[in-house]
Amino acid sequence: MKIRVEQSELSDACSWTTRTLPARPTIPVLAGVRIGAEEGGLHLATFDMETAAKVHVDAVVDEPGTVVVSGRLLADIAKALPKQPVELTLEGSRLSLRCGRSSFGLPTMPVEEYPELPAFPVEAGSLPGSEFGVAIAQVAVAASRDDTLPVLTGIRVELEGDTITMAATDRYRLAVRRLAWSPDDTSISRQVLVKGKQLADLGRTLGEGDSVSLSLGDPESGLIGFSSPDREVVTRLLHGDFPDYRRLLPKDSQTVAETDREELIESVKRVKLVAAERTTPIRLTFSDDEVLLRAGAGDDASASESLECSVSGDPIEIAFNPDYLLDGLQSIPNEKVTLAFTEPRKPAVLSDGPDYQYLLMPMRLGN
């Protein structure tokens, strides 16, 4: 094998594929990155038996071939090299890297021991990368990080005709986002559960591209694929029944408030400073045309701040975990945010239109 590739392209490709490499792989070869050189370029691939990532890199291939080398080491070297073309040559059982005046020799791992990557599923449709990225970030914020209930660490993805609905909940809040996409088959009706952390990560990295495609295997395969023009990821779906979240969405509301989102975020951040513990609530009182924010009481530090706000319906006082409230406010892209309430012990809904809803359960003070 003999190839030449630009340092920046090699470095980007390495850092993306090796990001998810396991620190202690079940078999040693899985700590490696597989480099395949063929006509027109090379690809880098990693696989941890759950998720396979593959990236295409433009390169001049003088001699095709396949090698496996330590992913972490290759990524570190590629990143540190000067911005010049890099030459990769397989010399016996070692891969040599030359770039400018630098030269490295890496031991290779046995290619035949590297497991075969799962077949990439059939493409089901596509959507613009930026929309994909934003929507996932809006939903992933509510996914649980607690592994004791694996289903809640997932993001529910529903593909119904030309609409994708994504939802996640950790039982304290629920985020639901609807968006349009272009399915290959407009009669598609599929619901899957994708690992939340992984999907959030894909939203960030694939969201940079112009377009993202979704691919689904047949339901038994339990696989889902995501691809941009030069990157693809295939991963195993989560099993289990995602809760029927639609019944949680309140049908009506007693109080609706609308205010400037940035200003409310800044106010919450200031008042939250006195919340000594993560579990100290922030109390919001909506009345007439303002909202009063308060935290802390008794001998502890306290803070209060009022903010202009248009309120319709009954006045209400309600308490939230300030971090959960901020997560919701920061997930809304618009200048204005609407908050809808029914009762102080029922969920509040943060939204900026029909396409995104962030439901938040309040805190109750004492018994």
Binding site: T279, A319, Y324, P347, M361
Partner: protein
């Protein structure tokens, strides 16, 4: 109890009279559990007495000085203690009484100075630099404490007086029982150096072995050893620390702190148990008990601790902090069970299990994050169930309603 039944404290004060620079007192009750147990059994005074589970086995919780002379000491298996002291009387422990007496003693100490660092039920450090002017010298305060503890509680204590915590504690230990020892700063070195190395804080069996192997038998031997030599033997921190102690240097101050409140319960099995189902049933019973006590006291807790003692007395604890504070037996049990399962015991023989909740806060003042569905914590429907059981228990007695797996099968006649 009438005063005539009580032996007067002997008030053996050993002091050179210079206590101007002594600001730290260490107060230590003498054979605390045994002494309190004897308050209601004055006829047993002067006889070897062992406090511990009388029925079957269990361990020695405490022993009177007469029993100690026969070789009995606390934490010893009861069977062994009985072989050593067949004539000893075994009395069951009465923890509510111990707590009551302890609270009385600590209240007395706090009435003398607010600078009280409580260590367990029967020990405390006092910083008296402020109280000396009012009460007249550290020795005078120590005598006052000894007389008043005896008058008010009917038990004796020993007090060590010095300028540092370490020396004060050594002094109280060496003056036991019913003694008072004052070690002014200028006498500290002369006091310490003849003592065996094991007298120093932090010198356990292992360190003692290392020191003896190097020919260091007394504290004076350590004091005469160059620091680099000690550091090579015991590591950089250990070596420097030991040298400081050997010269009576102890920078620690009396720390006044509210002891971290917790509520716990533990059970020593009648015979060692290796069946996880039996252990878990006991963990469930203890969890229910702890939760009921939390509800009664109006607390919720965040940290569940599981304690396991093996047949060979090795004891380990594991704990986990919940997302949400709880006072529900079911939540406590679920965490305790997870902790037990994570130990991965392969039918190890267990002697004791315990469950403890800490991170307690008053339920009335603890905000709760609500959830969409019943989750562990106060939103859970189980809390209502357990509160209902509390009411039934109050009215009809313990065990009327309990988890099915705790119900004993009916005895077959």
């Amino acid at each position: 109890m009438s005063r005539s039944q009580v032996k007067r404290p002997k008030l053996t004060t050993r002091s050179s009279g210079h206590d101007e620079d002594c600001t730290v007192l260490h107060v230590d009750m003498d054979a605390f559990y045994a002494s309190v147990s004897l308050l209601e059994r004055p006829q047993l005074r002067g006889r070897p007495v062992i406090v511990g589970g009388a029925a079957g086995r269990g361990v020695v919780l405490a022993a009177s000085y007469e029993a100690r002379e026969l070789g009995v000491h606390s934490a010893m298996p009861m069977g062994r203690a009985r072989r050593l002291a067949p004539q000893a009387v075994v009395v069951p422990p009465d923890f509510s009484r111990y707590t009551e007496v302890s609270q009385g003693v600590m209240a007395l100490l706090r009435s003398l100075t607010p600078q009280v660092e409580v260590l367990g039920l029967d020990e405390a450090f006092l910083e008296v630099s402020g109280a000396r002017r009012r009460l007249g010298g550290a020795t005078r305060i120590a005598e006052l404490i000894r007389a008043r503890v005896h008058d008010e509680q009917g038990i004796t204590c020993s007090v060590g007086v010095s300028a540092t915590k370490f020396v004060a504690k050594l002094a109280s230990t060496l003056s036991k029982p019913d003694g008072l020892l004052v070690v002014p700063p200028e006498e500290v070195v002369g006091f310490l150096h003849p003592l065996p190395v094991s007298a120093l804080w932090g010198v356990g069996d292992r360190t003692e072995e290392v020191l003896l192997r190097m020919g260091l038998r007394t504290v004076g031997d350590i004091a005469a050893t160059p620091q680099p030599t000690l550091e090579r033997m015991l590591g950089p921190a250990g070596g420097a620390h030991l040298l400081d102690l050997a010269w009576g240097r102890d920078p620690r101050t009396v720390e006044v702190h509210e002891p971290d409140r917790s509520i716990g319960a533990e059970e020593t099995f009648g015979t060692d148990v290796d069946d996880p189902q039996v252990v878990l049933a006991e963990v469930l019973r203890l969890s229910e008990k702890v939760a009921a006590r939390m509800r009664k006291a109006g607390y919720v807790g965040r940290t569940v601790q599981l304690k396991v003692r093996f047949a060979d007395f090795t004891t380990i604890t594991r704990s986990r902090t919940l997302r949400q504070p709880t006072d529900t037996g079911r939540d406590v049990y679920n965490e305790a069970r997870l902790l037990f399962q994570r130990l991965g015991l392969q039918r190890a023989r267990l002697r004791l299990v315990g469950v403890r909740m800490s991170g307690l806060t008053e339920v009335e003042r603890t905000p709760q994050q609500m959830a969409f569905d019943p989750v562990p914590g106060l939103n859970s429907g189980w809390r209502d169930v357990e509160q209902a059981v509390d009411l039934i228990t109050e009215r009809f007695g313990r065990g009327v309603v309990q988890p099915a797996r705790l119900v004993e099968p009916p005895e077959i006649p």
